[in-house]
């Protein structure tokens, strides 16, 4: 009975957190609220060159460069997960429906339920995003949503007790960008106004803390999850683009959340103003290109992240405009992506590792993302 009871205890906590998380979790840091899959695979270095709709979030000053006036009208959705989550959920389903003899055996041996053992080794991490956007040479609009919960159980938590920790990122809202080249054709400016709904729980519960578990299940406990805070903010960016016959140089600067973005709620209450800089070097022929990029985000250390979380570096290779390959360093870990542009359908897949701890190697998550975009790439 003991193993079944503790399994139910853990499940109650996890479901309580997840079911109350319609728009929960966001831990804003120096990263943009929305990133394109291919850009993530390129190490997340997107200040100098981002993919289609991600330009509005990465650096709107990129919009004027690209030739045509009409750029993109379409829809993109992405799904993210760590490799263990699928196995874990399959194990949960099969474990719940297993006959009682199996539970009795493990219980008699004094061992922890195999499903719970697996939960201790492999956190649950999955996510989904959706964006509809329209881009031109001088601006764009978009409506987006991104949610990515993370649930981890460990035998020894921050207080020495078994701990369930729920983190997440949820952003949604609308963005509108405007950009233009200056009199100097190599210099452009851009701005993105954003109306965001955000909720940022980061909750740790000791499994033995019955009071906290009961509170989570109560109406008051659910409120902290299900009430996202709206806020209005502004990002501004600039781009120096020195274009040569076969070599281009890009230098970018950007300020996110100019003056601070205030939210009506308390979690979060504000996105702080941050300053970023990036440099990019592109070697290209008429049809193919290799782009090297390096971003340094949150130059002033406003969010007090260590350096390895603020430096993004990567390489993108585009071949004949329909095949893209990317590699990079994201949070200090290798990343990679591939993209196929099939006129009305664009498929992307990326692999990267995100560090949830404060130092490298403390709490990494290897994540796979696939995205599907459909629309008109003019």
């Amino acid at each position: 009975m003991g193993n079944e009871a503790i399994r139910l205890q853990y499940i109650a906590i996890i479901l309580g957190l997840f079911l109350n998380s319609a728009m929960l979790f966001a831990k804003k840091t120096s990263q943009a609220v929305y990133e394109d899959t291919f850009d993530i695979g390129a190490g997340g270095a997107s200040l100098t060159m981002a993919s289609s709709d991600a330009k509005m979030f990465a650096n709107p000053a990129q919009l004027p460069y690209g030739g045509k006036f009409l750029r993109w009208l379409g829809l993109k959705t992405s799904f993210a997960s760590n490799p263990e989550s699928v196995d874990l959920l399959q194990g949960f389903v099969s474990g719940s429906s297993s006959d009682s003899d199996e539970s009795t055996d493990t219980e008699a041996e004094g061992e922890t339920d195999p499903f719970i053992q697996q939960l201790f080794k492999s956190p649950l991490h999955f996510g989904n995003s959706l964006i509809m956007s329209f881009l031109t040479n001088n601006g764009g609009i978009g409506v987006f949503y991104r949610a990515e919960p993370d649930i981890k159980i460990r035998e020894f938590g921050e207080t020495g007790l078994p701990e369930v920790r729920f983190q997440g990122e949820a952003y949604g809202g609308a963005v509108a960008s405007a950009a233009s080249r200056t009199y100097f054709r190599w210099l452009s400016f851009g701005a993105t106004a954003k109306y965001l709904y955000v909720s940022e729980p980061d909750i740790s519960i000791d499994v033995g803390d019955q009071e906290a578990i009961d509170n989570l299940s109560s109406g008051g406990g659910r409120d902290q999850f299900s009430n996202p805070s709206p806020g209005l903010g502004l990002d501004v960016g600039m781009l120096w683009f020195f274009q040569g016959e076969n070599v281009d140089l890009r230098i970018a600067g950007k300020v996110d959340d100019l003056g601070g973005t205030q939210f009506s709620g308390s979690n979060p209450s504000e996105f702080k103003q941050t300053t970023h800089a990036g440099v990019g070097l592109t070697f290209h022929t008429a049809a193919d290109a290799v782009h090297f990029a390096l971003d340094y985000r949150d130059i002033d250390g406003v969010y007090e992240e260590k350096l390895f979380k603020r430096v993004y570096a990567g390489t993108k290779v585009t071949l004949r405009t329909y095949l893209g390959l990317a590699v990079g360093i994201y949070h200090g870990y290798p990343s990679a992506a591939v993209e196929l542009d099939l006129i009305f359908l664009r498929l992307s897949a990326a692999s990267f590792t995100r560090e949830f701890g404060d130092s490298p190697g403390v709490d990494p998550r290897k994540i796979y993302i696939v995205s599907f975009a459909t629309g008109f790439d003019f």
């Binding site: 003991g2 207080t159 020495g160 007790l161 000791d206 350096l307 949070h331 200090g332 990679a336 190697g361």
Partner: protein
């Protein structure tokens, strides 16, 4: 620069980029042995000793966790958040894991000895190491008791509930472990307790067992009320046993539990 030359350069750059980016681990991790020659040029970020201790604890490297935490506590003795983590490390080293104890406390049947017995180290199997397990368990309790009572009971502190729960569990587990030192199966009948081994219990050990149970059951010490009730049941049952001393009553209680088929149903 012809197109062919440029494409060759591009190809070389791509291959080099993929090769470099195939390195495992974090390039900024000082503890990563696979960083590679280029990453060696990148300034690394070291984990704090607190982070290392938690990683070691969850990896089952309890000695490493103790080695990391002990000097930190010595340097900043009033930063009490480390005490429950160190206590958990000592307890785990004594083969006593909170998760297993927590599982047992969710059950509603059986005495506290029956509940915990299946999740504590087997004294017979541990042999000569068992005394070290007892010593580590005592270290776990002492570590928690070094936190002033006012701070242990201050629920505004994130670590207070952990200290209360761990203290109750360890102060309950420790007397059971002491008793189990003398509860051995008979060589003639595996389902019976070896009476001679039980008689080897000293008065001091019996007093320590009873005293630990009484401390664990204190209502003002925090902890799980259900477990408090279980301990009270045992203390009440001990009072009804024949004998003039704690030792005699404890031996009588243990023998009576064995005769009534403890833990069987």
């Amino acid at each position: 620069m012809g197109n062919g030359m440029i494409k060759s350069v591009l190809l070389v750059m791509v291959v080099c980029s993929f090769a470099r980016c195939s390195q495992e681990g974090n390039v900024a991790d000082c503890d990563n042995p696979n960083k590679g020659t280029i990453a060696d040029q990148v300034p690394c970020e070291a984990k704090t000793d607190d982070e290392k201790a938690l990683i070691a604890l969850n990896a089952g490297e309890f000695d490493e966790a103790i080695v990391l935490l002990s000097p930190l506590i010595a340097q900043t003795p009033t930063e009490y958040f480390r005490h429950p983590i160190l206590a958990a490390a000592y307890a785990a080293k004594a083969q006593v894991k909170i998760l297993n104890l927590f599982q047992s406390s969710l059950g509603s049947d059986g005495s506290v000895f029956e509940l915990l017995g299946g999740f504590l180290p087997d004294a017979e199997a541990r042999g000569a190491v068992y005394d070290q397990d007892l010593s580590n368990m005592q270290q776990a309790i002492d570590t928690l008791l070094r936190v002033p009572e006012a701070d242990r009971l201050n629920t505004e502190q994130t670590f207070a509930k952990s200290i209360q729960l761990q203290l109750q569990l360890y102060q309950t587990a420790f007397p059971v472990m002491l008793l189990n030192k003398h509860v051995k199966t008979s060589s003639e009948n595996p389902e019976e307790i070896d009476a001679e081994a039980l008689e080897e219990m000293t008065d001091e050990e019996a007093d320590a067992i009873i005293e630990s149970l009484e401390v664990a059951a204190r209502d003002d010490a925090g902890g799980d009320p259900a477990l408090n009730a279980k301990i009270d049941e045992v203390l009440a049952a001990l009072e009804t046993q024949p004998g003039a001393s704690n030792r005699e009553r404890l031996i009588a209680y243990t023998q009576s539990q064995n005769q009534s088929g403890e833990g069987g149903d």
